[in-house]
Amino acid sequence: MSTSENPPEPAVLCRGVRKAFGGTTAVDGLDLRVERGEVFGLLGPNGAGKTTTIRMITTLLPTEPGSITVLGHDVARDRIGVRRLLGYVPQQLSADATLTGRENVALFARLFDVPRRVRREKVAEVLAAMDLTEAADRPAKTYSGGMVRRLELAQALVSTPQLLVLDEPTVGLDPVARDGVWDRIAATRAETGMTVLVTTHAMQEADEHCDRIALMHRGRVRALGTPAALKDGIGTLDDVFRHHTGDDLEQGGISDVRSARRTAGRLG
């Protein structure tokens, strides 16, 4: 795509990123490079700093000290420019329950300035891609958890983002719905070549669906590579994690549990 002679800018580049909330350091000197077109997994237990990292990449939190660029755009200096490139699905179920699926998607088409003449078509297209055509004119409150997630993917994809950012996309979903979500992500990526940055604490999902993985623990990347390379000679990704951190995955305070349950409980 790039016409310049320099190698294309990576999809995401984090340099020395740090973030503390009060006395707690959430991200502690993070360096990260996500290449264009890959599915990159940010893996770690609750409280590892994944969501904070995502919130900095998506312009929701200031990035100083350190710097983050998304496809060459500085997140601190060109927020609006960065947001134009992004599709974002937060951890919670965030579709509007009182609106229909189509209205939910059309809202984001408008907020991303999808031109009026192609808007209707584009909305129908992403709804179809997420297998929601039949349910499109029903209120989202009648949707199952898996359908809501696919609706949120449709919302994020209607602007044809170059970087899709998913925060724990399959949390609270049953295995069938989970596969449904991943299949759609894979299909869209194959079609558009977009980059996917996903956080998860589900080792097996990361293993199956990510091209490369960064293991995060206590605000830092402890290991980085393809799932195969990481597992080489160690065992499962769970073992890899234990190997690099000396810790189990069982972590995270009551607030994480509460938010995960709230997520699972709403719209259900």
Partner: protein, 272 residues
């Protein structure tokens, strides 16, 4: 940016029009969403109308009957109707701002803020969406007022003014509650504060009684209460009471601009 350098004149026009266009487009978008929500949940319009209906039916009729509040040649019920309209808009707007905490907890707010929308445009869009809801509510209250025999203007231009006053008033109070939401960051506390400020705003205004009846200190509060200017404008437009319409709209516009900037300054706290 490079296009602006190549064609400075077109670039100049573009540079001021582009943000204005985004601003107006976001307001239109959020207002449209509000109308869609109203269409899906009409019962809320009715349940929310219960309180203003009681004010008109019970309070209005009783105080008209006992002639407790002197309002000159105007029947008290006519005098009260614009006040109750403003009050119902106030309650809706304050509640709308409270909802932003729910949106924050549900991740909706983050998602809205990761769209190419400047914060001030998003706040303004939310504020005027609250106005749409208030106007829809006002239609229900007005229908009731007509049934009760309140004589209202038939001039469509004046009704446009009524819509404008309600939209601006709602925007002000919606932003006030967003600003408070950004400071307290908790729904329970905000509910308490919301209730603690709505009644004083209402009672320290000219919604229920003429300013002349107020003790001096309350008159002073009344002078800085945007609700009073909203009520004065509504009263002037709806029932033809003498009103300083220019001053009222200037105050409402100024207060709306101030509150929108205040709420957008506080908004980032809600996404941390």
């Amino acid at each position: 940016m490079s296009a602006a350098l190549a064609a400075p004149q077109a670039g100049w026009a573009e540079s001021w029009w582009a943000p204005v266009r985004v601003f107006l487009s976001r307001i239109a978008t959020m207002c449209l969403v509000e109308l869609q929500k109203l269409r899906h949940d009409r019962t809320e319009l009715v349940t929310r109308a219960v309180q203003p209906a009681l004010w008109l039916l019970v309070f209005g009729n009783v105080f008209t009957a006992i002639h407790a509040i002197p309002t000159g040649n105007v029947p008290y019920l006519d005098f009260l109707a614009p006040g109750i309209l403003a009050q119902s808009a106030l309650f809706i707007a304050i509640f709308y701002g409270i909802q932003i905490i729910w949106e924050r907890d549900a991740g909706v707010l983050s998602k809205l803020l990761v769209t190419p929308t400047p914060r001030v445009a998003m706040v303004a869009a939310k504020a005027f969406a609250a106005g749409i809801r208030a106007v829809a509510q006002a239609v229900v209250v007005l229908a009731l007022a007509l049934v009760l025999g309140v004589s209202l203007t038939a001039n469509p231009l004046k009704w446009l003014g009524v819509v404008a006053a309600l939209m601006l008033g709602s925007a002000i109070f919606c932003c006030l509650s967003i600003a408070i939401a950004g400071l307290v960051l908790s729904r329970d506390r905000l509910m308490g504060i919301g209730q603690a400020i709505t009644m004083p705003l209402f009672f320290a205004s000219n919604a229920l009684y003429p300013v002349a009846l107020m003790p001096t200190w309350l008159q002073w509060v009344n002078h800085v209460n945007p609700l009073s200017y909203e009520v004065e404008a509504l009263r002037g437009l709806m029932i033809g009471e003498p009103a300083r319409l220019g001053l009222c709209f200037a105050v409402l516009l100024g207060a709306a601009a101030l509150m929108i900037s205040l709420a957008s300054a506080v908004l980032p706290r809600l996404t941390r």
